[in-house]
Amino acid sequence: MRWLGALLLLMGAASAEPQRILSLNLCTDQLLVDLAEPGQILGLSPFARDASRSWASEKVSRLPALSGTAEEAIALRPDLVVSSQYMKRETRALIAARGIKVVAFEDPATLAAARSQILEFGRLIGAESRAEARVTELDAAIADLRAASAASPRRVLPFSRRGWVAGRETLMADILREAGLINVAGEMGLSIGGFARLEAVVLLKPDLLLLTREPDRAEDQGQALLLHPALARLFPPEKRIVLRESLTVCGGPALAEALRKLAALLRNRA
């Protein structure tokens, strides 16, 4: 048995990049699935297969989705654990105490931060070239989006359940800024984010509402707001843009697709 351990140790030394990687967060799941070799992936977070949130949900069906608990992470003996900065402190401490490397990633608040995060992740797992290809794709998508919105800069309100409007320190606000669109949240005094009053939305009448899903079903009162007759009257389908949550919730590899989709929708609504 000892020689087997020595051999594994040698192999580990030969290839510097981690070979047994565990992700405990929805967003690092996506980066990992997109950039790593399938053999490097030891397990993903419990949300990886949730099609409504996970961009990578189709690709991960063969990969193990875990519970996200410390004991499971320790039992699997990973050589790298990736997660978000919002990972539970206790979980992180338990894993790190076993000598396992834990890297926590921030949620990028700008396109620039998202860009450098993809590169950083690629370096971490030894997938630099794939990461660079992703960034090139992202840059092309940004340019395409600018071209799409340059024709007519429009007033857009990103509007979620309960009327939540993302603040300027968020990726969504930065996408709108980069695209040259006017974010109506500023006119509402919600530049740091908050709940938009329905009356204010009606009064300020943005050109487009940016939603995260088609308002089809009112599973709760927060979602019912998106079905309010006042919004239905003033914002018919041609004044709405739907960008699925799974495309925008993380600043990872899904971003290029999100921007291309947004550009196409803007051209469509011109």
């Binding site: 908050g194 709940f195 009053r197 204010a200 599973e219 709760d220 009162q221 979602q223 079905l227 006042a230």
Partner: protein, 347 residues
């Protein structure tokens, strides 16, 4: 059966305050108009009138007719229902501290509604939601009245109510705990606070039929409440079928409170405060209390719902939070006033 028991009453007959109901009606109408004029967007009287007549700016019309009008209608209907339900419960249990919210009816209604939403049986705008909430409220009030039995002592009622509402609260917490949707816990928490914000005409159609039926049911029992104030034996000798009365009141309270919870969440203490404020004005007559208590409830909820829009705050204050903040000290005051009878009276 219900109308010939007029001689019974708590005190000697005094002058009837015939102005009471018209005055309350006037107050409700004034507050209703004030509610239409209140909101984050300031509209002048001229703009409001134009919007009301279907003229003027489209945005103003939408704000008035689609956003503020449903909200004001809901405040009147739900406030009336809560006040009336409180007065009816107090009449049935012959106790001024009885109110649906103290006995866990809204919590049970919320639990039942949350469970059906979590299971995907209902959504926030489907008819199944008020029906589920009504069943939950019915079960809780039925359980409570069954536990309290014939000679309900206050201690027994309060303890049973505490148990029922704790159980419903624990069930709701479990549903939040198990929810797959990360927003569900937040939505349930907001809902439990009770709010009328951004409701639409669809919510009005969802709740109004139930409130109308419940109000008629409860109002028709007014004579029986008066007879009951003499004690159950006396009421029975006056021709009141007490078991039947009990069932009708439970049904009426469950219909009204359950449907209200389904669209507005839990709004507490209106059912306690409104009847209490009106009781001295009707000479403590449980029969004449019902209508004024309902109107006072409507006025209170309208006023609270105007206040939450006027009070400056980062985020909007939920109206149910405000009624609780006002209601709990009021409840304590009632307890202090009744301290002597509470200390000696519980058997």
């Amino acid at each position: 059966m219900t109308e010939r028991t007029g001689q019974a009453g708590a005190g000697a007959p005094k002058a009837q305050r015939l102005w009471l109901v018209p005055a309350l009606l006037g107050l409700v109408i004034a507050l209703f108009l004030a509610s239409l004029a209140t909101g984050p967007v300031r509209l002048s009287v001229a703009e409001l009138l134009a919007a009301l007549l279907g003229k003027g700016d489209e945005a103003h019309r939408v704000i008035l007719m689609d956003i503020r009008l449903p909200r004001a209608i809901l405040a009147v209907a739900i406030g009336f229902m809560l006040g009336l339900a409180g007065a009816a419960m107090q009449g049935l249990l012959r106790n001024p501290l009885a109110a649906p919210s103290l006995f866990g009816a809204p919590q049970a209604a919320a639990f039942s509604a949350v469970v059906t939403i979590s299971l995907g049986l209902n959504d926030a705008l489907s008819w199944g939601l008020p029906i589920a909430a009504i069943l939950g409220a019915f079960a809780s009030v039925f359980l409570l009245v069954a536990i309290a039995g014939r000679n309900a002592s206050l201690l027994l009622l309060i303890l049973a109510g505490l148990a029922v509402s704790s159980l419903a609260g624990a069930g709701t917490a479990l549903a939040m705990n198990l929810a797959a949707n990360p927003f569900a816990a937040l939505e349930i928490a907001f809902w439990l606070m009770g709010s009328l914000e951004d409701r639409s005409i669809r919510h009005v159609t969802l709740v109004l039929p139930f409130i109308l039926v419940a109000s008629v049911l409860l109002y028709l029992q007014r004579g029986a409440f008066r007879a009951l104030s003499l004690g159950e034996e006396a009421a029975a000798s006056l021709g009141v079928a007490v078991e039947r009365l009990r069932f009708i009141v439970i049904l009426g309270v469950a219909l009204g409170v359950g449907a209200s919870v389904a669209v507005a969440g839990t709004i507490a203490f209106i059912g306690l405060i409104a009847p209490h404020l009106m009781r001295p004005l009707v000479n403590h007559d449980p029969a004449r209390l019902l209508l004024p208590a309902g109107l006072a409830g409507a006025a209170l909820l309208l006023a609270a719902d105007i206040a939450v829009r006027i009070i400056p705050a980062q985020s909007d204050i939920k109206v149910g939070v405000l009624t609780s903040i006002i209601g709990v000290p009021f409840f304590l005051l009632l307890i202090v006033r009744q301290r002597r009878s509470l200390a000696g009276g519980v058997a």
